[in-house]
C-alpha cells in the first residue's frame, strides 16, 4: 500500500499546485473528510475553521461517517454528507487506547535498543470499527470529483482507504491534528502522512514534530503552521462575573468533578488554601465554585464560552489544570485577554507560555504555588500579560491571516478567480 502511494506521489510531486479541474466562478470544490463533524472538541473546532476558510474560496462538502441513514444536508456554508451506518462511539476510544499502548511500546523499544533493535510487526487493530464506516466515501468522492480533498486527522486510515479507492493521485491536504501523544511515530499511521501533498499544523510545536516525522520518512510535502482564528470577545470586558467580582481573583479550569479524588481537584483545593486571601474561582464539571477566605459560593457549571471568556478577561491569572487535547484553545483565549496563564508542564498549552512568554508552567504542587505567587506580582504580571497578548494576537488573533494561511497551505491555484475570492483579506484591506 505504501509503495503504491509513493509511486503515485512521485508522478505528481514535481510541481504541486493544484489545478482546478472544475474551476469556475464559484471556485474549487473541496471535500473535507472528518470522522466527527462537531465543535465541542478542539479537533472538531479547528477542522470546521479550516473548512470555513476554504469555503471563502469555493464549495466545501463535508463527508463524515455514521448518522444512521445516508443523507445530505446543509450546515451553514457546508454541504454535509452523512455516510450512514453506525459508527460505534467506542471505536474511536478503542483506537486511541490501542494507539497509546503501541506508542508506549515503541517508545520503550527505542529507548532500550537505541533505534537499532527490531521493530514490532504492524497491527491492524487500529482500523477495527473505523475503516468500514468510511466505505461509502469513495462513491461520494467519485460523484463530487473534488479539486482538493482535506483529510482531518493523521490517524484517519478509513478515509485514506476511501481516497485511494477514489483516486490514488487526487490532491490531498492533511490537517494533522497531532496531539503530541506519540501517535505520529506509529508506522500504522505513516501511509496517511505519505499520501498528503500538503500538511497543515496548528502550532509551531506541532509543525516541528510533523517536519521531523516527514523527514524521517523521506517525504517532502510542505508542512505549514496555520494557527487558529481566535479573537478576544470584546463584550467580555464590559461586565465582570458577579460570583468572583472584578478584584484580583484566580480563575482555575479543570475537567473533573469537585467530588473526584483526582490530581486536578486536589490541586484546585490546594490553591484555595494557599490563596485564601483572594477569590479563587474554580470551574469544575459539576459547578463553579468561588472560594474566598475559607467560604465558597457555588453556581452552575460554566458551559457557555461567553461566561468562560468573561471569567478569563477579569482574572488576574488563569490556571488551566487540564491537559489540552490539541493546542490549548482556552489558554490562547486567556492570553488574548491579556491574562497570564499557568499550565501543566506536559500540556500542549505549555508552548504558549513558553514561546509566547505569556505565563509559567508547573510540574508539581510546589511549582504551581510558586508560579501563581510570581504572577500575582503586578509588575511581572503586567510584563507577561503584554508578552502573551502580543504572541497570541500575532499567531492566533486574525481570522483573515488564518484564511490566507490555509489557502496558501493547501496550494490551490486561484489565479483564475476574482481578487475578492482569491484573497479575502487583501480585498478587505
Amino acid at each position: 500500500m505504501t509503495n503504491s502511494i509513493d509511486a503515485n506521489r512521485d508522478q505528481d510531486s514535481a510541481a504541486f499546485a493544484i489545478p482546478l479541474s472544475s474551476a469556475s466562478a464559484t471556485g474549487p470544490t473541496v471535500v473535507v473528510l472528518a470522522t466527527q463533524w462537531e465543535t465541542s472538541s478542539e479537533a472538531g473546532w479547528i477542522t470546521r475553521q479550516v473548512a470555513g476558510a476554504l469555503a471563502c474560496l469555493g464549495t466545501v462538502h463535508v463527508v463524515t461517517p455514521g448518522g444512521g441513514i445516508a443523507s445530505v444536508r446543509t450546515d451553514g456554508v457546508f454541504t454535509v454528507h452523512h455516510l450512514g451506518g453506525l459508527l460505534r462511539p467506542q471505536a474511536l476510544v478503542e483506537g486511541n487506547v490501542v494507539a497509546d499502548a503501541l506508542a508506549a511500546v515503541d517508545r520503550a523499544a527505542r529507548e532500550q535498543s537505541a533505534l537499532t533493535g527490531p521493530m514490532r510487526p504492524e497491527t491492524t487493530l487500529l482500523d477495527r470499527g473505523l475503516t468500514e464506516a468510511w466505505s461509502p466515501a469513495s462513491g461520494v468522492l467519485d460523484d463530487l470529483r473534488p479539486d482538493l480533498i482535506v483529510l482531518a486527522d493523521h490517524r484517519n486510515l478509513g478515509a485514506l482507504a476511501a481516497i485511494q479507492r477514489h483516486s490514488p493521485t487526487a490532491p490531498v491536504a492533511l490537517v494533522a491534528l497531532d496531539d503530541g501523544r506519540g501517535h505520529l511515530e506509529l508506522a500504522e499511521f505513516a501511509p496517511v502522512l505519505d499520501r498528503a501533498d500538503a500538511v497543515l499544523a496548528i502550532t509551531e510545536a506541532e509543525r516541528l514534530r510533523l517536519e521531523a516525522r516527514m523527514a524521517a520518512r523521506g517525504m517532502s510535502a510542505p508542512v505549514t503552521r496555520i494557527g487558529a482564528p481566535m479573537v478576544a470577545n470584546s463584550s467580555a470586558r464590559s461586565e465582570p462575573n458577579t460570583w468572583v467580582g472584578d478584584s484580583d481573583y484566580l480563575f482555575v479550569l479543570t475537567d473533573t468533578s469537585s467530588e473526584d479524588a483526582s490530581v486536578q481537584t486536589e490541586l484546585a483545593r490546594l490553591l484555595t488554601l494557599r490563596f485564601c486571601d483572594r477569590p479563587v474561582g474554580i470551574a469544575h464539571t459539576d459547578g463553579f465554585f468561588a472560594w474566598h477566605e475559607g467560604r465558597f459560593n457555588d453556581g452552575w457549571a460554566i458551559e457557555r464560552s461567553s461566561d468562560r471568556a468573561r471569567l478569563m478577561a477579569w482574572a488576574r491569572v488563569t490556571i488551566d489544570l487540564r491537559h489540552a487535547s490539541l493546542f490549548g484553545r482556552d489558554v490562547v483565549e486567556s492570553l488574548l485577554f491579556g491574562t497570564p496563564v499557568v499550565v501543566p508542564h506536559d500540556s500542549q498549552a505549555r508552548q504558549h507560555a513558553h514561546l509566547g512568554g505569556g505565563g509559567l508552567w508547573f510540574e508539581g504542587p510546589a511549582d504551581l504555588t510558586w508560579a501563581t505567587e510570581a504572577l500575582l506580582d503586578p509588575a511581572l504580571s503586567e510584563q507577561l500579560s503584554r508578552q502573551g497578548k502580543a504572541y497570541a494576537e500575532e499567531l492566533f488573533g486574525s481570522t483573515d491571516r488564518f484564511i490566507d494561511r490555509v489557502i496558501e497551505a493547501c496550494q490551490l491555484d486561484v489565479s483564475d478567480l476574482p481578487e475578492v475570492v482569491r484573497s479575502p483579506s487583501a480585498a478587505q484591506a
Binding site: 509543525r207 513558553h354 512568554g357 509559567l360 504572541y391
Partner: protein, 196 residues
C-alpha cells in the same frame, strides 16, 4: 535527552520569531529556574511530637495515708492498770466512769474516722484511675498526632512525586522522592518509637 529538549525549544522559538513575534523580554524558563532556586532553601517538615509520658504520677501521699491507716483506731474502753492502794483503785474507778460516760461519743468518733479513712482510700483510688485515664488519653492523642504528622509527611512526599498516571505500572518511586519521604517522616516515626 535534556540537551535535545533544549535544542528543540530553541528551534520552536526560532520558528515563532520568524513569524514576526519578538522574543519575550522575560524568559519564562529562566524565571521558573530562578523561582525554583529561591524556594529550594525552604524545606517543610512535620512538627516533632512531644515525648510521650513514661511514668504515672500517682496521687498517693504515702506517709500521711499510712499514718491514717495505722492510727484510725482510737481507745474507746478503759483498761485498768494494776495499782496498789486507795489512790490506784480510785483512779481505775474514775477512769472506768469517764470512759463509760464517753464511750458513745468515742465510738461515734471512731466510726467517723473509719469512714474518713475509707473515703480517703476511695478518693485515692479514684485519683489513680483518673490519672491513668488522663495518661492513656494523652498518649492516644500523641499517638494520633504522630500518625497525623507521618501522614502529612507522606502527603508532602506524594505531592512532590510525578502524577501516578505518568509512572509506569509497578514502577518504584524515584530515589529522590522516596529519600525525601524517608527523611521527612523518619524523624517523626523514630520520635514516636522512642517516646512510645
Amino acid at each position: 535527552m535534556e540537551r535535545q529538549g533544549v535544542d528543540r525549544q530553541g528551534v520552536e522559538r526560532q520558528g515563532v520569531e520568524k513569524q514576526g513575534v519578538a522574543p519575550p523580554a522575560i524568559d519564562p524558563e529562566e524565571l521558573l529556574e530562578q523561582l525554583k532556586s529561591q524556594h529550594r532553601v525552604l524545606r517543610w517538615e512535620p512538627l516533632a511530637p512531644e515525648q510521650l509520658s513514661s511514668g504515672r504520677e500517682q496521687a498517693r501521699a504515702g506517709v500521711n495515708l499510712e499514718y491514717l491507716h495505722h492510727h484510725w483506731q482510737l481507745p474507746i474502753t478503759f483498761t485498768p492498770t494494776p495499782a496498789p492502794g486507795i489512790r490506784g483503785r480510785l483512779r481505775n474507778r474514775l477512769g472506768a466512769l469517764v470512759f463509760r460516760t464517753l464511750t458513745p461519743y468515742l465510738t461515734a468518733e471512731q466510726e467517723l474516722l473509719v469512714n474518713m479513712v475509707r473515703a480517703t482510700d476511695a478518693l485515692e483510688k479514684r485519683c489513680d484511675e483518673l490519672t491513668d485515664r488522663i495518661d492513656t488519653l494523652r498518649n492516644e492523642v500523641m499517638r494520633r498526632q504522630v500518625a497525623e504528622a507521618k501522614n502529612q509527611a507522606e502527603l508532602a512526599a506524594w505531592l512532590t512525586l510525578d502524577r501516578p498516571s505518568e509512572l509506569p505500572i509497578d514502577a518504584e518511586p524515584s530515589p529522590s522522592a522516596s529519600d525525601s519521604a524517608n527523611t521527612t517522616s523518619a524523624g517523626t516515626t523514630s520520635d514516636a518509637a522512642n517516646g512510645g
